[in-house]
């Protein structure tokens, strides 16, 4: 089995003009630079889940395989009306076994100054019920429309790299520990 960790970054909104796309690309690049970690940027807009059913009945083989392979997940999630995008929930609900005892970290994105803290809080119980293990560091991206230049480069790079370093340090540690536990420690 591959000894590298696999930690994909999931962009959790399909909305046109989404500011979270730049955040997801920035976070993806930070994960990509980590030694011993493989990653992928997953855009839920590209997943094309049907909307006339829900849950595991609409499993997408490629997305399920990606989640099954993952040791941890990073969710980049904008705050819409104090909560998470419905389409993200729709996509996440399509799996169950693929998530159990895997680490997850959330990067909240907001137009205002609270860095998506309310979407993070609202998402935590959902992730717990899916069997994921949440870390205690978050990514917080406030004022998302003004965080990046016209080329998508983050303006205050040093601050955000420093924050992501702590976030990813915790996520990678948790991913390693849980992988060992899933493979070796029986309940």
């Amino acid at each position: 089995m591959n000894s590298s960790l696999f930690i994909p970054v999931i962009l959790g909104t399909v909305r046109k003009g989404r500011a979270s796309e730049n955040v997801a690309k920035f976070v993806f690049e930070q994960v990509r630079q980590r030694e011993g970690v493989e990653t992928a940027l997953v855009d839920i807009r590209e997943q094309k889940f049907p909307s006339d059913d829900a849950g595991e009945q609409i499993k997408d083989p490629a997305f399920s395989e990606l989640c099954a392979r993952a040791d941890g997940l990073v969710l980049v999630v904008p705050e819409y009306n104090h909560a998470y995008p419905g389409m993200l929930k729709h996509v996440l609900d399509s799996n169950l076994k693929e998530y159990i005892h895997k680490a997850v970290g959330i990067c909240g994105v907001s137009a205002g100054g609270f860095g998506g803290t309310r979407v993070i809080q609202s998402l935590l119980p959902v992730l717990r019920e899916l069997g994921l293990v949440t870390i205690f560091w978050d990514g917080n991206f406030s004022g998302a429309q003004n965080l990046f230049d016209s080329n998508g480069k983050i303006l205050d790079e040093a601050t955000h790299i420093k924050r992501m370093d702590k976030f990813l340090g915790e996520l990678i540690w948790m991913s390693k520990v849980l992988r060992y536990g899933r493979e070796n420690i029986s309940i």
């Binding site: 089995m1 849950g55 595991e56 099954a68 392979r69 169950l96 076994k97 693929e98 159990i100 005892h101 069997g131 536990g181 899933r182 493979e183 070796n184 420690i185 029986s186 309940i187």
Partner: protein, 75 residues
Amino acid sequence: MDEKTFLSEPQNMNHKDAQKARMICPKCGAEMNHHAMKIDYSIDDSFEDHSIFGGGLQEAHTCPQCGDIELRRAQ
């Protein structure tokens, strides 16, 4: 796939032994590790110890060789 396919122990074991039955990875044949119990609300039945919540109790198993993940109804 039928859960009995994955049982490595004889079929005539008692209930207590069955609870300890190991799951064999359907992909590579290695013995899987049982690391979690999870209520699955997509299952339409219940067990005595959590029937107040509904759903069905599942065991989560991961293969240490190939990483495959399987759920099995709790024994």
